[in-house]
């Protein structure tokens, strides 16, 4: 593994058998996995470049079991790594050799559908798509739609504050969650929020969402559901240059239109996708936009005509608007096949996730191309164009000596570039282990110390998901004594993991 993690505690690993026996008394039956081949199943999440077998895997079925597991681990000083479906692209669920992996997959029931308040209450292991499936018969849906929505869980969505292609208009997870039941590291069960749109504890709820499993374990989630728009239409717009496509995006938003989705692909992505999925994408285009509008039919018809006119004015080389649902889905099928399409070009790829001010896009894509040449690696770009969220896909072959390290270095250069132009390290995938050591490019030591004060309020012994998010995690007692003068910490930095 090329990323360094906290040094495992040998004494804890030696006690694996005793810990397993105790956990079996809390979660009986198949709920505790300690055999080596069983543990190895959980060694990675979707960031497969990194792998580590956990100390043990425990799969509780109730909040009471989660609470008892945490109380026991807390009492013994044993670290805990929570995991949903393991679809994190940033290594948020990467195990540790001396930590219990707490999987929530068996807590997979929808507890309540409340149409009067337009909310669903679900256990954390319910998949994102299952919520929509449960309410679509009544014309509702759950808006955040990460591309892994068939598999990813709503508990994992809360941990990562997951987005999706529709989040410019409908928001991320944090904009669609009203409450959680949270088990704190010492086993105390607490509730934040509920079915009301606002309550005084939504401030605390807000830091739990997107905290990447470092503050506690969510055992129940209350989400808002929305009425499904009556109609949707997608436009496929080809452009002769990235600049023209970027200008079109700015023009659409400047005209007061917030599309339900607005995706851009560069030429390498278009070529790879078309070869893989035969989606009907124009192979002569340098950049391609998919713009989706939704709402009542009158809204879709009006906006589609407006966007067609704007695309023409921006020099679009091809314009097609979906005539029916089948064609709309065909337009999207290509975009949704972007990741598997990359699998045909190279054995491995990294999917980066920075966000930039949209105006910087042409400049950033040019620089990314140049950085690729520098590192000797190919890159294709898919891009949530509406909200400026880039997904450069770095192609590499992990079997070639040194190529993983080159890909990591290339990725780090891209993310530093995002910060340099006024953007951020991650738009929706989370920091995890992947971007942990880049946090200093965006935040000062004082900024990070303020974030860590939240961590210390929840988990003063730093037992929850260590080695993620923070490049350096100070002991909470030391953090309390930190005196800062003129923006500089007056005590020596502790070593990095």
């Amino acid at each position: 593994m090329t990323v360094s993690m906290p040094r495992p505690d040998a004494a804890t690993i030696e006690k694996r058998g005793v810990i397993a026996a105790t956990l079996r008394s809390i979660v009986p039956g198949e709920g505790v996995i300690d055999a080596e081949d069983g543990r190895r199943v959980f060694e990675s999440d979707a960031l497969t470049a990194y792998a580590q077998s956990p100390l043990l895997v425990v799969l509780p079925r109730t909040a009471a079991e989660v609470s008892a597991v945490l109380r026991y681990c807390h009492g013994r000083g044993i670290k805990v790594v929570p995991r949903g479906a393991g679809t994190s692209l940033s290594g948020g669920a990467l195990p540790l050799a001396d930590a219990v992996l707490l999987g929530l997959s068996r807590m997979s029931r929808i507890l309540e559908i409340d149409y009067d308040n337009r909310v669903v209450v679900a256990q954390p292991g319910v998949t994102n798509l299952a919520i929509t499936r449960a309410v679509e018969g009544r014309g509702f849906y759950y808006a955040p739609d990460p591309s892994s929505q068939i598999a990813c869980t709503v508990g994992g969505n809360v941990a990562e504050n997951s987005g999706g292609v529709h989040c410019l208009k409908y928001g991320l997870t944090t904009n669609n969650v009203l409450g959680v039941e949270l088990v704190l590291v010492d086993g105390e069960v607490t509730r934040l929020g509920g079915k009301a749109l606002e309550s005084s504890d939504h401030d605390i709820l807000s830091v739990v969402i997107g905290s990447e499993g470092l503050l506690g374990v969510v055992t129940e989630v209350t989400v808002r559901i929305l009425p499904r728009p009556l109609a949707a239409r997608a436009l496929l717009l080809g452009f002769g240059s990235v600049e023209d496509a970027a200008r079109c995006v700015g023009t659409v938003i400047g005209a007061g239109v917030i599309p339900a989705g607005m995706e851009m692909m560069d030429r390498p992505a278009i070529q790879a996708i078309e070869a893989f999925a035969a989606a009907g994408y124009p192979l002569d285009a340098q950049a391609l936009l998919i713009v989706e509008v939704d709402g009542v039919e009158a809204e879709c018809a009006h906006l589609a005509a407006e966007i067609e006119a704007m695309a023409r004015a921006c020099g679009a080389t091809s314009i097609s608007t979906s005539k029916d649902e089948a064609e709309r889905l065909a337009f999207w099928a290509g975009r949704k096949a972007a990741f598997p399409a990359m699998g045909r070009l190279a054995p491995d790829y990294f999917c980066m996730d920075g966000t930039i001010p949209r105006a910087a896009l042409p400049r950033v894509l040019t620089r990314i191309g140049a950085l690729g040449d520098l590192h000797g690696l190919k890159v294709a770009n898919v891009f949530h164009a509406g909200d400026g969220n880039l997904h450069p896909l770095i192609l590499y072959d992990g079997n070639n000596e040194g190529e993983l390290e080159r890909a990591e270095a290339f990725g780090a250069d891209i993310l530093r570039l995002c910060v340099e132009v006024g953007g951020v390290l991650t738009g929706e995938h989370g920091v995890g282990v992947e971007k942990r050591d880049l946090m200093g490019a965006m935040f000062s030591a004082v900024d990070l110390a303020h974030q860590q004060r939240v961590k210390c309020a929840f988990d003063p012994m730093l037992l929850m998901n260590p080695g993620k998010v923070f490049p350096t995690l100070h002991r909470c007692a030391e953090l309390g004594r930190v005196h800062v003068h003129a923006g500089r910490l007056a005590f020596p930095e502790l070593p990095r993991f």
Binding site: D116, N117, R118, V119, G139, E160, G163, G171, T174, N175, L192, G194, K195, A196, L197, E198, S199, S200, D203, I204, S206, V207, G210, P227, P229, G250, I253, G256, I258, G295, V296, A298, E299, A301, H302, P357, A359, D387, G388, G422, V424, L425, G427, E428, V431, K435, M439, F443, S444, V446, A449, H450, Q451, R453, V454, A457, F458, V469, V484, G487
Partner: protein, 373 residues
Amino acid sequence: MNPPLFAAPANEAELVEAISTARDERRTVELRGAGTRAAVGDPGRERAIIDMGGFAGIIDYEPTELVLTVGAGTPLAEVERLLAANGQMLAFEPHGGTIGGVMAAGASGPRRPFAGGVRDHLLGVEGVSGRGEAFKAGGRVVKNVTGYDLPRLMTGSWGRLAAITSLSVKVLPKGRAEATVMVEGLDDAPALALLARAAGSAAEISGAAHIPGMGTAMRLEGFGPSVAARVEMLRGLCASSGEARLIEGDGSPALWREVRDASGLPQDLPLWRVTAPAASGARLTADLGDAARLYDWAGGLVWIAAPESVDVRAAASAVGGQAMLVRASDEMRARIGALHPEAAGVAALRSRIKAGFDPAGVLDPERFGKAQI
């Protein structure tokens, strides 16, 4: 008695100095914007004022990026004028004097259920914590999950974690057309049932209020052809409830300003702001007799003006809601905390977070009573 002025910093260095001095001298300070909500909280608590008016002005605004960065002390009216000139708005429909004050109070208006609240639009902050340390969190782009979401933690914190000097907010296009469909003569329960049907329909309403004695109002905003189609849709939905009247032109925004500010309620009675699950709105007020009330957010927000003897807080608790005391006599405000008491576990988390950001208790620790530091 008005609290004395402690400092009026003109820049971040002076603010660091002011908070550090307060910490060293064991003073407590209230951060003051325009003072819109100065009367929320215990009037007798010890504190001096830090005037945040020095942090006024537009810092960065690029309409097509949908992001505005602005000094916290900037008058809300100035922000809204600038946005309006570019066909944009703060979608959470705030009421207040300064943008920082709106954020500190987390005060969202009628569009909250449909477009999100203050917290949903806050992207980044810079400021000085109670430790006297300048820090930043979040970013200046519309999509960001880098690090803990401290901007959202600051929203509704009443300036008791940090003094925010600048903030970045997501801005959105303002609808080109607006119309309100109003049904008159409905009692509270059927009115709220109608609003729930409208909110759960595909008509994409952007306001849902019931004003007893006046009517039940649903707002539509957007592009002209879309609004026209949705007006017809709403009329159909209202058909079984009564005759639907259309309010267009200036009448519609004027109506929603009145809803936002609850300005139609009696001014001489204590005023409560109750948030609760939307479907419990009518149940909440059933026990409150003839207390004056206004329902917003399709029933999820209820403004109640009632005599001191009416226990609005107990009624809110009974339906799983919370009641904030927005306006009352000094005597009542000293007796009853402005914020709804929280469960012990949440209160413990809150005080540990407060201790992390403001260990010496500089930033208005007793605004909501000694129990709620």
